[in-house]
Subunit: 327 residues, 2 copies
């Protein structure tokens, strides 16, 4: 792609954040700067079409780079189970046609000049970004949590991602908070059955049936319950609506139960929390800290920090590239 | 104590396993052999009396050792919170008078010839023994579980004990399996509130009130419910008693809920399970494997082994000494 040199000032990697609705690509520098970016929609795209689209998108990212710029490689974050060591994608739960894909191998054949091609789980990629230049940079041992459709996690041990025996560690959304809770393919009572976006909305609507005085629907276009999102609920909570505050208190208590279990298991220094629901800020973090302290021995709670993630929607893109730069 | 040499064939360490009722001491060789052993009762013993008793007990362990034997150090396993790096005991929950004790420092002043003095949590010590020469030796990433009065854990990552950010990782007995479960100082619904020795007995007696045909009490002296222990329940289960089998199935399901949470968090290769309740053998392991498989995605369950510990009551003694030998 370019002639490799030893000049680190113009080193770059291509990060590819493979999301459920769009694929974001960026040329990322070692300090985390996204020097160029582009994207294309994911919808209904099989492996070959995806590779074609990536190959077509990359040249625009490289316009105007110095002639001696060093290409470090390509990092991809994917929403599913991956073998990091081999770059093999087992399964992307929400993207049809993506099962048993040797993605690193397929990408290497498209980009033979790439010194490294790394494939990582999307939450691990986000964590890699947060710990390279974001909220996690200050910690040796931390756990990253993303709150969205589900609950994802990534574990940092001794400044490095810890992937477990088979690259799948950090699936903290499946941690049970009720051994007799709802049954799914991953167990019973997994915390994401209570605090995923849809579950939060359903919980609010259930409560609304018994609290008609709530101002919750004032936040929603046409007061249409079908359009309610967690963002409306956090806005109502900020305006002091009791029902909305109750919803976030319940969400926080469910999350605190799971986080306490993680803390007792590996005792991190910090939980770094990102994703859409975390945008609620102190509406979430205040009850979360309180419930977590209630659920932990002081030996643990006094030695544990809870922090919002700082890179926002770019964490994954930056993190994928960082993994290639560090490879 | 002796003149250090480089001869590893006659190297030894003193292991001290500080239990709630007795303190076991041993001279342990690098292959895990306990070359000599002794013990004294713990009961009501403060720090100074304990140090006196240790100092008095050690000479007998050293009788007849080769003149050139190399003393590697002393390792102590204690039942409570410890800072491994400094050898500081924060608190032993069940041993009065043992809070804020700089135990390594105190031992060094009694045994100035010891090249190393290491203080470790008792479950970590057991795990160190099992992974040096027992059931854990085959694994890089494993979790050790002890079942007794409570539930303890220790985490092996990359062949080494992982102690977390502040030496307290592995407190898996406090992992919640019901966010609205019984409240204790360490949270709500911690698994040891369901599967500790006393809770198992209570659960069996509760069931017995509704199942008078059970043969459970046939196992117990004088058919006295007050003398019932988990061992009687496992004997009744082996004899086919439906109530006793139900008790072990419930215990297994509670444990499986917790183990699944640990597996989703750090994905070990194996769980190594020891302690009194684990002596029930397949009466426990059979339903435990079944419930764990029900509660895990196949990506996890197919890559996970469940094994009994193999060193029995000596695991802690051997493990403490191994930590000193490896220091």
């Amino acid at each position: 792609m370019t002639t490799p040199t030893t000049s680190s000032s113009s080193t770059y990697a291509i990060g590819i954040d493979f999301g459920g609705t769009s694929v974001k690509l960026g040329r990322v520098l070692p300090d985390g700067t996204i020097a160029a970016r582009t994207s294309f929609p994911t919808v209904g795209m099989g492996v070959d079409a995806w590779l074609d689209a990536v190959e077509a998108a990359v040249p625009a990212l490289l316009e105007g780079i110095p002639a001696d710029a060093r290409f470090a490689g390509i990092g991809v974050g994917v929403p599913g189970f991956v073998d990091f060591d081999t770059g093999f994608v087992y399964d992307l739960a929400n993207v049809p046609g993506w099962a048993s894909v040797p993605l690193a191998e397929r990408l290497r054949s498209r980009f033979p000049a790439a010194p490294h091609v790394v494939i990582e789980n999307d939450v691990n990629a986000m964590a890699a970004g947060e710990c390279a230049i974001g909220a996690g940079a200050a910690y040796r041992d931390a756990v990253f949590v993303t709150l969205g459709t589900g609950v994802g996690g990534a574990i940092l041990i001794n400044h490095k991602l810890y992937r477990g025996a088979h690259s799948m560690a950090g699936e903290i959304g499946h941690i049970s908070i009720d051994r007799n809770g709802p049954q799914t393919a991953t167990g019973k009572g997994g915390v994401e059955q209570y605090v995923g976006n849809r579950q939060i909305v359903k919980h609010a609507l259930d409560l609304l049936a018994t609290a008609p005085a709530s101002t919750l629907l004032d936040q929603v276009p046409d007061r249409d319950p079908a359009q309610l999102t967690p963002r409306h609920i956090s806005a109502a909570a900020e305006a002091g609506d009791a029902l909305a505050l109750r919803v976030f208190d319940d969400v926080a208590d469910c999350l605190a139960t799971m986080l306490a279990s993680v803390a007792y298991t590996i005792q991190p220094e910090a939980f770094i929390i990102g994703g859409g629901v975390a945008n609620a800020g102190e509406i979430l973090f205040d009850p979360l800290r309180r419930h977590l302290n209630e659920r932990l021995s002081p030996y643990f709670s006094e030695r544990l920090t809870l922090r919002p993630a700082t890179l926002g929607a770019d964490a994954g893109l930056i993190g994928c590239a960082m993994l290639a730069l560090q490879a």
